[in-house]
Assembly symmetry: D5
Homo-oligomer: 149 residues x 10
C-alpha cells in the first residue's frame, strides 16, 4: 500500500505536462467544461475534481492514474504563506489590507450584519482593453450570509 500522491506533487506534474504539451489553463478548463479559475485552482490542489474531470485532464496531459486519484482527493485548502509574498499575489493581499475595512462597512450598509460567503462563491478574471494599457479585472461573487442565530 502506498500513500496517495500528494496534491502538491500532482500539481507539479500537471504544470510540467501542461508546459510540455503547450496547453493553456484556459484550454484545459474548456476541455472539461469547467470554469477557468475553478479549474486552475483545482489543478493546483485547492478543489477536489470528480472522477470524470480528473480522468479527462489526465488523458489530455498524458498523466497516469496516480495523478488522477490525487486530483480527486479532498484538499486541505490554503496557500503556502511564502507564496503570498510573490509580487503578483501580494497585490491582492495589499488590496485587501487597504480596502478590506471599507468593504466591510459597505457590506454592512447594503446587506446588514453578515459576510460575503467564500464557499458559495465564484471568482472570474478577464482582460479589459484600455488605451493606457489593458487591465486585469477580477470579480468576486459570493452569496451574502447574514448572522443568523
Amino acid at each position: 500500500m502506498q500513500p496517495i500522491l500528494s496534491k502538491s506533487v500532482a500539481a507539479d506534474l500537471v504544470v510540467a505536462a501542461r508546459i510540455c504539451k503547450g496547453l493553456t489553463w484556459a484550454g484545459i478548463a474548456e476541455s472539461i467544461g469547467a470554469p477557468l479559475v475553478w479549474t486552475t485552482a483545482a489543478l493546483l490542489g485547492q478543489h477536489p475534481m470528480t472522477e470524470e474531470q480528473a480522468a479527462a485532464v489526465c488523458a489530455l496531459l498524458d498523466l497516469d492514474d496516480t495523478v488522477a486519484e490525487s486530483l480527486r482527493l479532498q484538499p486541505s485548502r490554503g496557500a503556502d504563506p511564502a507564496k503570498l509574498s510573490d509580487p503578483t499575489v501580494y497585490r491582492l493581499v495589499e488590496a485587501v489590507s487597504v480596502y478590506g475595512p471599507a468593504l466591510k462597512e459597505l457590506i454592512h450598509e447594503e446587506f446588514g450584519d453578515g459576510i460575503m460567503s467564500a464557499i458559495n462563491f465564484n471568482i472570474d478574471i478577464a482582460r479589459r482593453p484600455h488605451p493606457d494599457g489593458d487591465r486585469v479585472v477580477i470579480t468576486l461573487d459570493g452569496k451574502f450570509l447574514d448572522y443568523r442565530w
Copy 2:
C-alpha cells in the same frame, strides 16, 4: 503647535457623526461626487482627500477643521492586522489564500510576466439579486504592469 489629528481618530469621529446624522457611506460619496469604495476607504484613513472633498465632508457631518486637516493628510496605508481576522474581512483573506496562486497563473497566461497594479486600480461593490439569496459582487480592476527592465 499641536500634532495634526491622527487619521484613526478622525475616522472614529467621522463614523460617530455619520451614525448620529443618519447618513450612509453611499450618501456621503454621492455628496462629494467620488466613488463609493474610494470615499469610504479615504474616510477610514486610506486615501488623502483634496481640500474641497475634506471641507465638503466636514460640512455635511458638522465636523470641525481639525478633522478636515487630518482627512487631507498623506496616509500610511494598510489595515491593523487584528482587523483582518474579523469574519467579514477574513473571507477576502481566505479567497486570496485559496485562489491567489491560480489567479497568478492566469494573469501570466493572459498578459505575460507581471502584476495587476494595486495603485492604478479601482474596486467596486454591488448587490446582485439572486433567487437563492442576494450576492455580494466585488470587482477589482487594475492596470496590468509587465516586468519591464
Copy 3:
C-alpha cells in the same frame, strides 16, 4: 463631536454593572428574550444589539445612552489573541487542534465538500449532571454550506 464609546470600554462597564447589581448573564439574556451565549457575546462586543435590546440592557444595568449606542455598533469581531491562552478558553483551542482534522474528514464524509457555517450558526452551553462530576456540554450548530461555484 465625540467618537462612540468603544465596544471594549462598553463591555467593561457592562461587566462592572452586572457584578455591582448582582445579576447573572442568564438573567440578562432572559430579560431581553435572547439566547444565552448570543447575549453574553454581544455584551462582550461580538454582536450588534438592536435599539430595543441595547436600551433594555442599559435600563436593567443603570447604564447611560453612550453605552447603549456602543452596544448597537457593528463590531470588528474576534478575541484579543492574549485571551485565547487563558486556560478556560485554551481548552477549546486545544480541542480544535486535536480534533479539527478529524471533524473535517467527517463533515466531508457525511455532507460532501464544504463547511459548517460560523455565520448561520448558534452555540449553546449546558450543565450535564454526572456522578463523577458534572460536565460542560457545548453544542455548535451551523448550516452546512457546500462549495458551490
Copy 4:
C-alpha cells in the same frame, strides 16, 4: 533496527487504503466498536490504539504490521498549524475566537472558577435535517474541573 513508522505516514496509508477499499470512517469506527470522532482522530494520529483496535483496523484495510505498530504508539498531539487555516477547520477556530470569552464567562457563572476538561472529554458530530439546509451539529462534552489547590 528501524524507527517505528511515524504516525503521519501511517495516517497517509490509512487514508489511501480507506479510499481504495471504499470504506467510510463511520464503517471503520463501527467495525472496531469505538466512537466515530475518536476513531477518526486516532487513525489521523491523535490517539494511541490498543493492540486489538490496531490489528482490527489493519486487517480491515489490508495494512501490514508496521502500520499497526505505529497506530499503537503514544502520539505527540495537535494539528500542524497550516491545517488550521483550511476553511472547514478554520470555521471552528473562528467560532472559538468569537465565542470563547463568552463561553468562559458562562462556565464561570454556572460552575465557578475552572475549565471544561479537554482530556476527560468527548466530541460528537451529527447531521440535523433542516428545511433551509441540513446542519452540522458538533457536541463537546467535558468534565468540569474546578481550580482546586
Copy 5:
C-alpha cells in the same frame, strides 16, 4: 458607573503597598491563611480571591474597596509573553523546553495516556540548604487525568 479596576493595576497597587509597608508575600499569605504561591499568584492577578481574602489583604495593606473588588474578579489567566523572557522566569521556560518531552514519556510510562492537571494542581517553593550554595526547590503537584472518552 466606572469599570472595575483592572487586575494589573490592582497588582501594581498591591506591590507598591507591600513594599511601602515592609511586608513579605509570605507574611501576607500567612495573614489570610492561604498557600504562599497561590496567594502571590492571586495578588498578581492569576486567581480570584474570596470576599474575605480580598478584604483582609486590603485591610493589611491599607488599600481601598476598589482594589478589593478587583482582587475578587475572575481573571483572564496567563503571563504577558514579555515577562517570560525575564531571566528568572526564563529558566523555568528553558527547563520545560529541555525536559518536557522526557517528562511526557515518563508520565505515559507510569500513568498511561493522559496529563498532569494544571487545574487540580498546586505548586510550592522552598529553600534547600546546601554546602555548595542553597537551592531553589519547586514542586508541581497535579492530579493525573487519563484521556477518557
Copy 6:
C-alpha cells in the same frame, strides 16, 4: 566519511528498540545507574552520554555503534516548538505562564536578586497516591545563583 547519526534519528531508534524489547525508561535508567529523568532526556537527545553509558544502553537495546556514537554527541538542546503544544507538555507551559511571575517574586523574596539555575539543576517525577486519583509530582531543584558582578 559519513556525518554522525543525528540525535533525533538516534532517539527514534532508541524509542523503537525500547518498545520492541518491552523495556521501560525506568529499567534503562536503572541499568546504567543514572537518574530517571536525566536518562530519558539524554536518550531523547538533550544530554550527551559518556562512552560507558552509551555502550551500555546500546547493548541493552541491541543498537549498533552508530547510535552509541550519536548518544555521546554534544547536543543542541531544546524541544521542537511543535512538541510544546502537545497537551501533556502544554500543561507545564501553562503552569509556567500562570505561576512564573509569582515564583519570580518568591525567589527574590527568599534569596534576593537572582535565578534558579537550569544547569546546576535536576528534576524528578513521582507518583503520589491519592484517594481522589493519584497525582503526578514533579520536583525542580536548582542552585540559586545571585546576580553577582
Copy 7:
C-alpha cells in the same frame, strides 16, 4: 523634571508645523544646508541633529525648545514594522526581497567577502523625466567593508 519629548512626538509636531507653514522637506533641508534624505530622516527621528541644526529648524517652524532638545537626542533607529507595509515603503522591501541575494552575489564578485556599509552611507532621491512617465531614482552609496579579522 520631565522626560524629554519623544522623537515620535517631536516628528508629529514637525510634520504639523511644516504643513501649516507650507514648507517643503527640500526647503527645510536647504535652509540648514544638510542633505535632503538625511534631513527628512533626522526630523522623522532617525538621526540626531546638532544644536545649530535643531535650533534652525525650530526657528523656521516656530517650534519651541522642547522640540529642539528632542531633535538632538540620540535615536533608537528603525521603522515601526507597521510602516513597512505601507505600499510606498513596501515596494522598497519587495525590491530587497527580489534582488537582495543577487546584489549579494555581485558585491562579493566585485569587492570580495564583505558588505556595503549602512553607516558610512548616504542615500539620495531624484526625479528622472521619461516620456512614458517620470521615474523615481534612489541611489544608495555605502563604503565597502571587507570581513577583516
Copy 8:
C-alpha cells in the same frame, strides 16, 4: 512525466557550474546581452528567461536541457526570509527600515500620492573609487505610479 526542476535546484546547479568554469556573473550577463543584476537575479530564480537566454546560459555552463527548462519557468518571487538576515543583505533591509519613511515623504513631496514601481523597475550596482575605501553604489530606478482611481 517528471516535475520540472525547481528553480532553487537549477540555481544551485548554475552556481556550481559558474564556479567550476571560473566564470563571473558579469561575464554571463554580457554573453547573453542582458543587464547584470537582472541576469544574476534570473539565474537565482527571480525572473523567467526566454528560450534563447536559457539555452545560451546552459551552453556556456555545460548544463543540460532540464536546467534550461527550469530557467524559463515563471517564478514565485521573493527571498527565503532566512537569507535576509545574512549581513550583506541585511544592510539593505536596515537601510529601508531607517530611511523608508523619509523616502516615502520625499516621493509624495516630489511626485504626489503614489509609489515607485518595483515592476517597471531596474536596479544597477557599481563600484565608485574613493580614497577612504571604494564604495558600493546601488541605483533603484522605477517608474512613478500615482494612485489613480
Copy 9:
C-alpha cells in the same frame, strides 16, 4: 496609594536629567562607585539599586524620591524587542547569530558540557586606539557552569 513609578518612566527621567545636567554615564557610575556597564544598565531599568545607590544618583541628578524608589525595584529584565533592531544594538545580535554556534563548540571543548553564566557575569566596554580607527572592545566575563545533576 499610587503604583511605584515604572522603571521605564524612571529611566526616561534619568536620561533627561543626565543630559540637562551635562553629566556622563561614566561620571554617574564613578560617583556611586559602581561599574560602568552595570550602572548604566541599572539606570535603564535592568538591575535594582541599593537604597544608597538610588539616593546618591537622585541627589546628583536632582530627581525626587519617587524615582529613587523605582530604581530600587526588582526589575523584569530584557529589552523591548524593537530596541534590538537599532543598528548599534543589532551588530551585537548579528555577532551572536554568526559566532554563537562556534562559541558553543569552543566552550564545550575547553570546559566540557555547560554554559557561561549570564548571572555570575560582568561586562565591560573600552576604547582601543588603532591607527585605522579606534575600536570598541566589549568583554563578557561569566563563570562557567557545568551541567551537573
Copy 10:
C-alpha cells in the same frame, strides 16, 4: 553537474571527522595558522576559506575535495534560529537583551553616533582561572564606525 555540497552538510562531515580523528578545534586552527573562533565559525559554515586553508583542513581530516570546495564557498551567514535557544548560546542572547541598550548608550558617550562594526571585527574566547570556578571570557573587538553621510 552536481550542486556544490551545502555548507551545513560540509560542517556535519567536518564535525564527524574531527571527533573520529580525536582532534580539537584549537588543533585545527593552529594547523592552518588561523584564529580559533574564526576557524571554528568558518568550518561551521560562517566564513569562506581560502583554497589553501580548505585543502589543509581536508588533508588533516581525511575529507575529500567536495568538502574543500564547499568550505571555500561564499556563505549566507547567520544561525538557524532554533540554535539560538540552546542554553549555551542563549546566555549570549540574554546578555545582549539585558545589556544591549546600556552598551549602546556607552558607545555613543565614548565614540559619538555610530556602531561597533561586526565586519571589521574579531572575537576571542579564553579561560580565566578563578578560585570560585573558572570563567569564560569572550572579547568582541570591532572598529568604531561613525554615522557619516
